[in-house]
């Protein structure tokens, strides 16, 4: 019995670690570019996935692993505070949506998925995570421009607009793709 609990614990840890690895891998694949520059990447998906499956804490740990992993694989650093905000912080907050996901049960009584609820939970998790990540990037932008831009320029507005440019499409794509993934997971377990 004791052994089974330990296997479960180790399995959860390994799944979180591999999800973060998948996220780092996906961040290196640019699937499509946006017409006005910038690109959509799917690195947030595995983090949201873990947040739905194992809750907020696991999601935040997966996000932290992703942030530190990206840092180690060669990040661009222009300011010490920007380093902390743009990498570990921005990705850790992605998992916070997971704390709310457990409030809504996605399963029906006969253990099948309730499609509408899966959509609801996915959108909630993606929305909370993305908005928080956006806020952290905006803050980081403000720190960066406060240091490097001349005084008297409208720093906050510029940071808000610039970061929205890639976060909004990322949010939409993540929400669209998370639903089939969560449902496919259910099919895998029943196997």
């Amino acid at each position: 019995m004791e052994k089974n609990v330990e296997i479960k614990r180790v399995l959860t840890m390994v799944e979180i670690a591999l999800a973060a690895a998948l996220a780092v891998a996906l961040s290196n694949l640019k699937f499509f570019h946006l017409p006005y520059g910038g690109s959509v990447s799917l690195e947030m998906l595995p983090i949201f996935y873990i947040a739905i499956l194992y809750g907020g804490t696991a999601g935040c740990v997966a996000g932290l692993l992703l942030g530190v992993g990206q840092l180690f694989f060669g990040a661009y650093v222009v300011h010490p505070i920007q380093l902390v905000l743009d990498y570990p912080m921005a990705f850790t907050v992605l998992g916070i949506g997971g704390f709310f996901a457990t409030l809504i049960s996605m399963k029906k009584n006969d253990d099948t998925f309730d499609y509408l609820r899966v959509v609801l939970v996915s959108v909630l998790v993606v929305f909370v995570g993305s908005v928080l990540r956006y806020a952290v990037h905006v803050l980081s932008g403000v720190v960066f421009f406060a240091e490097y831009a001349p005084e008297g320029s409208n720093i906050l507005l510029y940071s808000l607009v610039y970061n929205a440019g890639y976060m909004v499409p990322n949010l939409i794509v993540a929400a669209v793709l998370l639903v089939p993934l969560v449902i496919a997971r259910g099919a895998l377990i029943k196997r």
């Binding site: 180790v10 670690a17 992993g69 650093v77 496919a184 997971r185």
Partner: protein
């Protein structure tokens, strides 16, 4: 890429501390001569790491717009004494603007080069080992540092494998006729589902096998582990850290 230089062989902790010290220093210096000295120090680091200078410069190219933005913003929008032909109409270039712009552009440039030197000469696995040492004081607060670094190592170790896996699945679905290049945002996103589902499921099947294998080999959560590569503080590390400490006071003269 060379992998056996003096810089590559240093203890990752030493490299990290040196990076932090130089970065903080960069925020305090303003005199052109000090920037020149810092540039020389960084050039010396690049030379002794045997990394071709062209490769380092290539890494800066994506940031050109950033330098231009920082430079031009200062050149044209800083109040002060105008340089001769200006102000023309509303365009004004001031003496203060040019100095500030140059200082700030140089500062961003040098910070980017410095931080890329750390990741170019240190493998992610070495960085994780260093992270384990740096975080170990947190064990006092009941934070599971060992488990976290084990996960970090797994993440780092599996990135190349999963990247290969992803490429394989993308090619497989392409050969079945998926065209990723057409359609709007949501339509294109939906085309990624046949890539993501196999990719996710393969990863999690792998996770299950890995977890069972780890438990069978005696892995237990929260226990102290020994590692294959032990970090050792060598004479060259001592030499490196002393030279950094000796050179830094020159920036504050």
């Amino acid at each position: 890429m060379p992998q056996d230089s003096f810089i590559h062989g240093l203890d990752p902790r030493v490299k990290f501390i040196a990076l932090i010290l130089f970065m903080v220093t960069l925020f305090f210096i303003e005199a052109p001569l000090k920037f020149l000295l810092m540039g020389l120090v960084i050039l010396l680091i690049i030379q002794s790491s045997k990394i071709p200078l062209g490769f380092v410069i290539k890494g800066i190219i994506p940031f050109v717009w950033l330098f231009l933005f920082a430079a031009f913003a200062h050149f044209f929008f800083t109040p002060g004494t105008s340089i001769k032909p200006f102000p023309i109409w509303f365009i004004n270039v001031t003496f203060e603007g040019v100095t500030n712009g140059t200082i700030i552009t140089l500062r961003i440039l040098l910070i980017i080069v410095l931080s890329s030197m750390l990741t170019l000469t240190t493998t992610p696995l070495e960085l994780t080992t260093a992270l384990k040492r740096v975080l170990s004081p947190l064990k006092r607060f009941k934070i599971p540092v060992n488990d976290f670094t084990m996960m970090m190592m797994l993440t780092i170790r599996f990135v190349p494998i999963l990247l290969l896996e992803a490429q394989r699945i993308i090619n497989a679905q392409r050969s079945r006729g998926i065209n990723f290049e057409t359609g709007g945002l949501i339509k294109r996103a939906k085309k990624l589902v046949p890539i993501l589902i196999p990719l996710f499921n393969l990863s999690f099947i792998r996770a299950e096998e890995l977890a069972i294998a780890m438990v069978c080999r005696g892995y237990a959560t929260g226990k102290e582990r020994s590692s294959f590569r032990e970090l050792r503080f060598s004479t060259s590390d001592l030499f490196a850290i002393t030279s950094v400490i000796l050179v830094i006071p020159f920036f504050f003269l």
